[in-house]
């Protein structure tokens, strides 16, 4: 992991962004405990994001991924009222939403988005009620019910093993259903013929997604969570048609984007206008968007040169003809 960090640093140094500042920054960078914790937490979340995100993106569930942190916030508000840890609220609300989404029997991505939207509206309403009750009958703040950004560098050492455990659970359960998920996305009947329900796989996946989003948005903030789940996977899926390769490269890309963002956040301490650091969430999210735009450009270039397109690239007809899933 440290080697990776060094690689990122030497890359930045090689690009010559003020060699002296970088040298000073680099030595302090790895000896700063907020940075160390952010790197470990960021890596765990990024790996999960790459694995979960790949399936979420090619199943057309970007909106669900994005919404689960808002929906989870209603659970966070409930946890606040009940006096239990917010993660319990986030995760259980996420699971309920996942079950509701999967049992809605939607057939197209558009319908899934509509159902997600209705559920999201309902959860906003529930949050409003719970926060109203919390603000009238308790004396605690609602800060943990919706952390938008701001917590990357204050992840405490004691939460790291916890994050690692959740990551293992998420990655394993996605691994368990990966084959069926891939088949079901292309040919649900084939899965049914094999005597297995594509919906069970979908449900297990959505619960894993809810858990990953809860963990990511509570430790890193909601916007970082959404960006890392969707961005790297979508970038990679434009360029490769193999699911296994996509999962691996999406995770690596997510890790790289997180690390570079953390490094830039460290460096930005000397940037104008205030010389007190740019927000890490902004830097990571901006990198994620840039890489995605670049992958779209690259894909277009490939199509022009007559090459293959990725799983989520091109039009629907191209996809049908061009790529078959290799699991």
């Amino acid at each position: 992991m440290i080697n990776w960090g060094m690689a990122v640093i030497s890359l930045a140094a090689a690009q010559g962004t003020g060699s002296k500042a970088v040298a000073n920054g680099a030595s302090g960078f790895l000896f700063s405990s907020p940075v160390d914790h952010a790197l470990v937490a960021g890596t765990l979340v990024a790996i999960c994001a790459g694995v979960v995100g790949t399936f979420a993106v090619f199943r057309g569930q970007s909106f669900a991924t994005h919404s689960l942190s808002d929906i989870g916030a209603a659970g966070g508000a409930a946890a606040l009222l009940a006096g239990v840890t917010p993660l319990a609220g986030f995760a259980s609300m996420g699971t309920v939403a996942a079950i509701a989404l999967e049992s809605a029997e939607t057939t197209s991505a558009k319908d899934r988005d509509i159902t997600t939207g209705v559920l999201l509206g309902g959860s906003f309403g529930l949050s409003a009620l719970l926060l109203y009750l919390a603000s009238n009958f308790t004396n605690v703040s609602g800060a943990t019910t919706g952390v938008l950004f701001g917590s990357l560098f204050t992840v405490s050492a004691s939460t790291l093993p916890f994050l690692a455990a959740i990551s293992v659970v998420v990655v394993l359960s996605v691994g368990l259903v990966a084959r069926r998920l891939t088949l079901a996305s292309f040919d649900p009947d084939l899965v049914r013929v094999k005597g297995k329900s594509p919906r069970t796989a979908g449900l297990i996946f959505l619960v894993a997604l809810g858990l990953a989003v809860a963990m990511a948005s509570l430790s890193l903030g909601a916007i970082l969570s959404a960006a890392l789940m969707i961005g790297p996977a979508a970038s990679v899926l434009r360029l490769t048609s193999r699911v296994g390769t996509a999962v691996l490269t999406a995770s690596l890309l997510a890790v790289a984007e997180t690390w570079l963002g953390i490094y830039l956040a460290y460096e930005s301490y000397s940037w104008p206008p205030n010389h007190d650091g740019w927000p890490a969430s902004f830097l990571v999210v901006a990198l994620v968007l840039l890489v995605y735009l670049a992958s779209r450009g690259l894909e277009r270039l490939r199509v022009l040169m007559g090459g293959n397109v990725g799983l989520s690239g091109g039009s629907a007809t191209e996809r049908g003809r061009g790529a078959t899933p290799h699991v």
Binding site: G117, G121, G125, A128, A234, V285, A286, L289
Partner: protein, 262 residues
């Protein structure tokens, strides 16, 4: 129940319900649910930008939600399935956090403009929300035919020379305009829920397009009226009732259509 602030809430709620019912119908029809969630969120960065530039917040709100609409309309296509919308939304939120960290002053003051209250609507705001509703409903009404054709019959729309991207942009621009004006008045929750849930339910109840719009508006208006009335009686937040009725209506409409089609 009919003191001045309640009367204003009833009127503004009705305007927003009609707006949400009509615009939402085409939003749902075209599969733009995610964008309807994303555009109000973009306004967050707009308020921060306006504070730094020292201009009226409304200018910032309009600029950023239109920017969001342009970004989404130009990057989103049938195969991209919401990815650009998600990334643009998080990016704009990130920009908002950048602005917030630059200003170094109390953030609530900047963003207070965003948090509309349906029970705190003044006479002047009533005019603004009424005017916006009429403009947006009119604009979408004019576009309804080309939008419908481009959504339901994409092939013949292209043959007739309709540009899909431009249609989407026009619709999203209407949503952006509606959000910028309505957000500071009634709040994000009410706008988003009324844009999505009534139209989603109407699709299950009525098959014809015109009937669908009418049903969508009626469901939206009933939702708002019931919610305001119940909020007054129970002293619970209006948004809770709107969100709950949205989900209940949708589940009810789906069940009804399943039962009757059997």
């Amino acid at each position: 129940m009919f003191s001045s602030f309640m009367v204003n809430a009833w009127i503004a709620g009705t305007f927003v319900a009609v707006l949400g019912g009509v615009v939402g119908f085409y939003v749902v029809l075209g599969g733009n649910t995610f964008a309807a969630h994303a555009l109000p969120t973009s306004a967050f960065a707009g308020a921060g930008a306006a504070a730094i530039a020292g201009v009226d917040p409304l200018v910032g709100l309009l600029a950023f939600s239109l920017l969001g609409a342009v970004g989404i309309a130009s990057l989103e296509n049938r195969a991209s399935q919401g990815v650009p919308t998600a990334l643009i939304t998080t990016f704009i939120l990130g920009v908002g956090s950048l602005f917030l960290s630059i200003t170094n002053s109390y953030g609530e003051q900047i963003f207070a403009v965003l948090f509309g209250q349906v029970l705190g609507i003044s006479r002047g705001e009533l005019w603004a929300i009424g005017g916006t509703s009429i403009v947006c409903v009119g604009a979408v009404g004019l576009m309804s035919r080309p939008i419908t054709i481009s959504v339901l019959l994409p092939a013949s729309a292209e043959a007739a020379g309709l540009n899909q991207g431009r249609m989407k942009l026009a619709l999203l621009a209407a949503v952006a305009l509606a959000t910028s004006i309505a957000l500071p008045v009634v709040g994000a929750l009410l706008i988003f829920t009324l844009l999505v849930s009534p139209a989603a339910s109407a699709r299950y109840l009525v098959s014809s397009l015109r009937g669908g719009v009418v049903a969508s508006v009626m469901i939206a208006v009933i939702t708002v009226w019931l919610s305001i009335g119940l909020a007054y009686l129970t002293n619970l937040p209006v948004g809770f009732f709107v969100g709950t009725f949205g989900v209940l209506g949708y589940v009810g409409a789906r069940t009804l259509s399943k039962v009757t089609s059997r």
